[in-house]
Every structure is written in structure tokens, then in C-alpha cells.
Symmetry: C2
Subunit: 477 residues, 2 copies
């Protein structure tokens, strides 16, 4: 990067020149202020007695309600000036999802649904899931809120036999690797494997071996079989696990998941399906794929608070990966029978799980409309590639909403002579209310259109075309 | 338990007979409804274009604002009827922190601060921390929001050399055990060790050996030395780690932490200080204690969303426990240099971390007033033990706000003949707006007074005395 700018320069709090007479921004600001004032009102109730507020608390409540009313008037009228700019004295109010169209490659499908945001308000406190924890004292057995039912639904949703929530997909990889991989064992991953797969294997003492890509950057079943053979020949032992991303994080190309599962099973090797970019946005049928394990990410693709995720498996592997503790205190003879070793007992005891649960009905529904998401992705990519010198590096037509694109021949030609260098492009996007690109990058980069409406997609495509036209880049009609 | 009641029977949504003309409950209900309506307003902005709302969206916003105004009027007047009772169709609105005094043993210090609740509203979305993630692409290096600074402050707060946030204290134990414990190695824990310590050692392939308690249920340095000697004699090898809770989860008795650290070091064994019940509520000076590792819990004691926690350590152990990945892709030669194996890269990428950060100024401040918390704890225990037949099983005077008490000789004598059996006591507490006791338990049980104001403590003590008097249990004046 040629020039270093501060984040504040790159991402101003408001969008100059946008909004109907600038009212958009202030209404969002006031919406946050109203939420924050209500949290202060909650604070008054929390500090009071169950019998009611005392006169001092009543006075304070009255004051806060008066402030709230003024704020609501501002929301309605689009008036007022920002009153709260920091949380806890240092944290900016994050309003980019409200203010902008966010094309960040990994944030799109982790945005909370409105119901999840409500659940979070209600269940944010530490151990909020544990009010009615009864014997046998394990998170996935709690019936109020309906955590036990949710586990059942999640299992069915993925068409597997058992499911557990975990603190991120990576913790799912870890649980499996820790259970199946001994020191020196080999695990097959793809040449596009996510780094967390590397780390999970490394932590278990194993070694990763990568399946090469074909000419179209696809991991094939054939190449996987060949790699298994290679490993067996080189090490004298079969790999102990095959772990492949359905869609990878680099190109979001679709890999031959079902074929790979079949190949793995031909060698008697279990297959872990990495659904970080699929579970929660498109239908995933674990049994049909032939997966022994399905891993998904809550904060990446299931509209949940981080860190969250799911690890599902077949009955065959549950006794191994979900084994319960066998440790006995030598002195006290204590046992903690039902607690699962790899889960370390309970996993997501609060807002993380409750957002997953609150988003789940919407998440199930949205997977049924994946085809429309893919259409919107292609619509945008088509518009982009009409800008001369732009191309898509991911497979095309797109089968996913995450895409890697190359604008070296288009926007980067402008960057070469622009006084802001590569940042000119971020400036242009930002001035149009579009955020989430890697600031300063105009060569090869990634973006994600997931969850944008047709109206927003159209706006996004027009914005790119508009920037091209502003800088006289040829655009094919 | 003799009788099984549904949770709804035990914990009614409102408190009959409480509140100034019953307005308390409806005002809290309406506060949640206002928050939820504002989340729906946010949803409108999220679905709109950066240029502003279209006429349909404006109309919807107008409608929501009108609803909001009516709700605010209800908050002010204490009028109205509940309109929203479920989130996402199934989840109850959790309002026990607002409606009641909550004495749940593990929830008290994990309740969010008001600033944390604001941060959560703002940063709930999946990867909300990652807007400005730049090279070297690791969570603890992000400067906007100030995550890097927070890590520095956290390190200083614990007086250690390095700190990382982790998904719960248990994941801190796991990282240390996984780094230091080889198959068959012994780890010294206490006879009051939390089950997650057992599991972390088991997951690493080690074996726990428990230090016995003295006559006062304290883990002493002397007993620890003896146990180390025993292990060495029996196994021919020294334990590889000593892991002891400063205050245990059973009695919350204080154990001889500094002495135990010294003993461990005399044998050249690293010492892990389990501060799940200390870090975030009382001052913890890792170096002064002589800890090689300090582990704390975000959702238990740092007013943060679960799962969250901290693992701090000395420079001596950082290269081992925070080792960066050494794995290289055999084919692509990919390396992910700065990612730490035991952390699996980034850990808390969203609301979990941001609530820890937003609570942190208040958390630092509250540790300075720990003595007052202990006074309130003793005030309550004194009142309880004046009820004839009641006693405290934890060390006394109390040095902590979590206490194990025995009411077999008091409230359980009532339970024996009451038609609701042990549930009579829960009913009585609940009718006074007190929740968090283990329903149906009137013999030995735990409660936590952390964070209650003097006014609330007084109310709590009076409630217990009042119940005793109602059932003619002698109360010493």
C-alpha cells in the first residue's frame, strides 16, 4: 500500500451528500440514542427493589423518559444533533449496517436478524441460558429456553444424527481433530483450506496434506483419491481424516464434496464437511453428501453473535467425538459423567446461542431462497465484468455470493495516477454509502453480496458502473 | 424432589401483589417492547439504500415510530398491556434482572453493565470487530475498535506479561493443558476443582490428582507440597502443572494461592491461577501471587456475553502456549505465520469481546470496592444465620459473595410438612421478587449476593427473616 490513511479518514461517520437532506444519518444516530436511553432505563429497574422504584429512581426514570421522548421526536422529524458518540468512553457506535451497503467478504451472512437482536437485548447477560438448568446440567439438555429442542432441530436441519453448538467452526474442527488425530497422523485438506483447519490439525499433533486444484480451481474427487494414495505411499499410513470446504474462502468455488466423501469412505477415512460458507445460507443435507461431520459457523453464516457455530455428526462418530468424561478424582472420587470432553462441558451459555436460536427460523427459511441470492450475485458480477478490464477470478457463473474479483485492468489503472492511489476507490465507494471492501485494494479482492435486496444489488452495480464512468473506464452496455 | 412443577409455575412472569399498583411489571415489559420496536426500526434502515428510505419504508418507519410513542407513553404512565411475549415465536422475554433480585450462584457478576448492553446493541452482528482488520490479521492487533489497547490494559490489570481473550475460562485451561500436558502426565488440582479443569486435562491426555482439604475446607500450600511428593513417589515423575482456584465454586473459600504458587515453583512446576471467581470482581495481581498463568471468566465475573474469558501469562510461557503456527501447506507452501495454534487464530470476534471491553472501565472500578461487596455478603449471612437452624457451610466470616448455606434445620423443617414440599421456599422467595435459588432445594444450596446494593441486600435479608417468621421459625434478634 502506497499511502497510509487512518480509518477515520477512510470511513467518515456520516455520508456527505447522501440522504434526503441529510436526515438519514441523524435518524439512525437517534435510533441508537433511543436504544441506549432505554438501556439506561433498564439499569434503573435493575438497581431497584422488586417492590418498585423509590422517589429518587422515579425521578431519574422520569428524566430518562423525557430524554427518550425528545429522541423519538428527532427520529420522526429527522432533526437533532448527535448526543452520544462513544460507548463506555471509547467505543464508536457501529452503524455501518444501517448507514451503508456492506460488501465485506465474511460479514454478510453473520449479520443478526431483527429477532436475534431482540433476543440479544433480552439474553445478553453472562449465563442467561442457565436460569432453569436442571439435572443433568448440560447446556443442550436445557428446556427453558428451548435449547434441547433447538439441538434437535439443528440436527434435522443438517440431516445428521447429533449436533452441538461450539464457539466457532474452528472449535468444531478442533474437537474432531483432537478426537481422531494422533501425533504424526495425516489429515487431507484442500489447497484452498482455511487456516483454522491447519491450526486444528496442528494443535492435535497432525500434519496437513493439500489436495491440488484442477485447472478451474476446483478440488475434485479424483485429485483427493490421488492425494490419499500419495500419502499412503509416502508415509505407509492412510490419512485419518479428510476435511474439505464445500465452498472455499478464497474463490467461493464449489468443490466436489459428495464425490470426495465417497472417495474418503472407499479408503475408510471419515469425512468432515466444512460448511462455514454454506450452513445457514443454502440447504445442506449431511447424509446426502455422505458427511461424517458437518461444521458450520454461527457468526459467518447463521446470523449469530461470535464466537458460535455447529458441529454435527453421525451416530457412528458420536461415541468418539462426543465421549463423556471418564476422569475420576483420585481423592474425592468425583465424576462429572455427562459432560463431554471435547465440548469442555457447556459451550455457548448466553447471547451467542440465543441469537443462533432466534435467527434460526429465518435462517431455515432463507436457505430455501439461495437460488435468488446466487442470481443477485451473478447480476452484480455481470455488471462488474462489463467494466472493461474487470474480471471475476471465482468460477463463473457464480454459484455463491462471495466472489474474488480482479480490477487491476480497470480501477487500478485509475489508482496508478490518482493522488489518493488505491484509496480513491474506497473514497468513491464510501461516498456512495458502500463499505466493506479492503481499503486501498483495487487489484484482486473479495466481496460478498449475501442478503442484499434486489434494490440494493441494483444500487451496488450502478455505483460500480458510475465510478467507472466518472474515470472514463469503458463500460460495455 | 418430591413434586415436579413447571418452570412457569415456579417463575411467573410478573410478581403478584408487588409494585406500586402493579405498574412495575408493565413498565419493564414496555421498556422491552420499546427496545424491540427500535430494533424493527433498525431493520428498516438496514433494508434501505444509503440514499434514504423509499416511500414504503418511510410509511413503515412512521408506523413503527407511532407504536414506539405509544409504548413510551405506557412506560411513563405505567399503563398498557403486554403486546410482545415471545421473541422469534418461541423465546420468552428474559426480564428477571429487571423484575427481581437474582441470587443465582454463577450469574451475579456476569450481568452486563449498561455500557456493555449498549455495546452489544451496536456490535452484535457476527464479525463486527473485523471492519478494520489489517495486517497482520489477528484479533488482538486490531486498533479500531481499540482491541489492541484493551489487551494491553487487560495484561496490566492482571499484572502479567501477555493476555488473550478466550471463549470462556475453560478454553484458557485447555490452551495451557494442551501445551504443557503430554499423555499420562499428572496435573495437580484441588479437591474442590471445577469440572472444566478435569476436562481440560483429560482432553490433553493427562490425569488429575487432587490436593486434600484441611479441616476448614481450605487447600493449603503444605497439602499441595505433600501431594506433589506423593505423585512423584507414585509415578516417578513430577506433575507438569498445578492448577488451583483462588476461590472454589463449592464454598467460595479462599485457598492459599500465593503459598501454593511458591510450592509449585520450588518443584519447578508452573502454576495456573484459576480466577473464574476473582478476576473482574476483586483485585488480582498475577505477579504478586506468583502465577505463571491467570485465567478469568468473562461471563462469570467480567460482565460479558458468554462464552468469554481471559488467559494471561508470563513471558516465560508465552512462546510455548502462544506459539504461532509452524504448519506449512505441502503443496501451496502456505503459512499463516502470526496465528497462534492454541487460540486457533482469532477468538472472540464480536459481541462477546465488545461487551468485555465496554464493561472493563466499570469492572476495573468495581474491583476496588470488593471490601464493600464482602461486607454485604456477611451482612446477609449474619441475618440468615440468626434464623435458628440455618448455618453457613463456607468459611466464616465470608471473604466472598458466593456462599454455601445449610437450611436443613430451618426452612427444610417447614418443607417436610408443607404441601408444596421444598418448593414452598421458592414460592415464598418468588412472591417477594427474589429468584436464582435452585428451585425445590431447601437443604444445602448456594447463593451469590454480588452486585446487590445495600438497599437490595437489606431487602433480601428481610425477606429471609420474613419467611422464617411466617412459618414460626425462631429468629434471634
Amino acid at each position: 500500500m502506497a499511502t497510509q490513511l487512518t480509518a477515520d479518514q477512510l470511513y467518515p461517520g456520516s455520508i456527505p451528500g447522501l440522504g434526503s437532506e441529510g436526515t438519514m444519518s441523524i435518524r439512525i444516530q437517534k435510533t441508537f440514542e433511543a436504544l441506549f436511553t432505554l438501556e439506561e432505563i433498564r439499569g434503573i429497574f435493575r438497581g431497584s427493589l422488586p417492590t418498585g422504584l423509590d422517589p429518587g429512581e422515579e425521578a431519574l426514570l422520569g428524566q430518562r423518559v423525557a430524554e427518550l421522548k425528545a429522541i423519538v421526536t428527532d427520529i420522526e422529524a429527522g432533526t437533532g444533533t448527535p448526543r452520544v458518540t462513544k460507548i463506555a468512553g471509547t467505543l464508536d457506535v457501529r452503524s455501518r449496517e444501517e448507514q451503508s451497503i456492506n460488501i465485506h467478504p465474511i460479514q454478510a451472512a453473520g449479520r443478526l436478524t431483527t429477532e436475534a437482536r431482540k433476543a440479544l437485548i433480552s439474553y445478553g447477560d453472562g449465563y442467561s441460558t442457565c436460569d432453569f438448568c436442571r439435572k443433568p446440567f448440560r447446556l443442550d439438555k436445557i428446556t427453558k429456553p428451548g435449547i434441547a429442542d433447538f439441538h434437535g432441530e439443528l440436527t434435522k436441519f443438517l440431516n445428521m444424527d447429533q449436533a452441538r453448538v461450539v464457539p466457532g467452526a474452528r472449535r468444531g474442527f478442533q474437537a474432531v481433530a483432537s478426537s481422531l488425530v494422533e501425533k504424526g497422523d495425516t489429515v487431507i485438506v484442500s489447497a484452498l483450506a482455511h487456516y483454522t483447519e491447519f491450526l486444528a490439525v496442528e494443535e492435535a499433533g497432525g500434519i496437513v496434506k493439500e489436495v491440488p486444484l484442477d485447472g478451474k480451481n476446483i478440488v475434485t474427487a479424483e485429485a483427493t483419491a490421488q492425494k490419499i494414495e500419495d500419502v499412503q505411499r509416502e508415509t505407509g499410513k492412510l490419512p485419518v481424516l479428510v476435511m474439505i470446504d464445500h465452498f472455499d474462502y478464497q474463490f467461493a468455488n464449489e468443490h466436489e464434496i459428495a464425490g470426495i466423501a465417497k472417495v474418503a469412505h472407499q479408503y475408510g477415512i471419515p469425512f468432515l464437511y466444512n460448511g462455514a460458507y454454506t450452513v445457514g445460507i443454502m440447504p445442506v443435507d449431511g447424509k446426502k453428501i455422505g458427511a461424517d461431520f458437518v461444521v458450520g459457523s454461527g457468526h459467518k453464516s447463521m446470523a449469530a453473535v461470535a464466537p458460535s457455530g455447529v458441529l454435527a455428526m453421525t451416530e457412528e462418530f458420536a461415541p468418539k467425538v462426543l465421549r463423556t468424561t471418564a476422569m475420576v478424582g483420585d481423592l474425592t472420587k468425583r465424576k462429572f459423567g455427562i459432560k463431554e470432553v471435547e465440548m469442555l462441558g457447556c459451550t455457548l451459555m448466553g447471547g451467542t446461542l440465543l441469537t443462533m436460536m432466534a435467527s434460526f427460523p429465518a435462517v431455515k427459511e432463507r436457505t430455501l431462497h439461495w437460488d435468488d441470492e446466487v442470481k443477485k450475485s451473478n447480476y452484480f458480477i455481470d455488471a462488474l465484468t462489463r467494466i472493461s478490464g474487470s474480471r471475476v477470478l471465482s468460477e463463473y457463473p457464480r454459484k455463491h455470493t462471495l466472489s474474488k474479483i480482479d480490477t487491476t485492468g480497470s480501477f487500478d489503472t485509475v489508482a496508478k495516477t490518482h493522488k489518493r492511489r488505491g484509496f480513491f476507490f474506497s473514497d468513491e465507494l464510501s461516498s456512495r454509502g458502500i463499505v466493506g471492501e479492503f481499503a486501498g485494494a483495487t487489484r484482486t479482492w473479495k466481496l460478498n453480496t449475501y442478503g442484499l435486496s434486489w434494490k440494493q444489488i441494483q444500487y451496488l452495480a450502478d455505483a460500480f458502473t458510475g465510478i467507472a464512468e466518472k474515470y472514463q473506464l469503458p463500460v460495455q452496455k
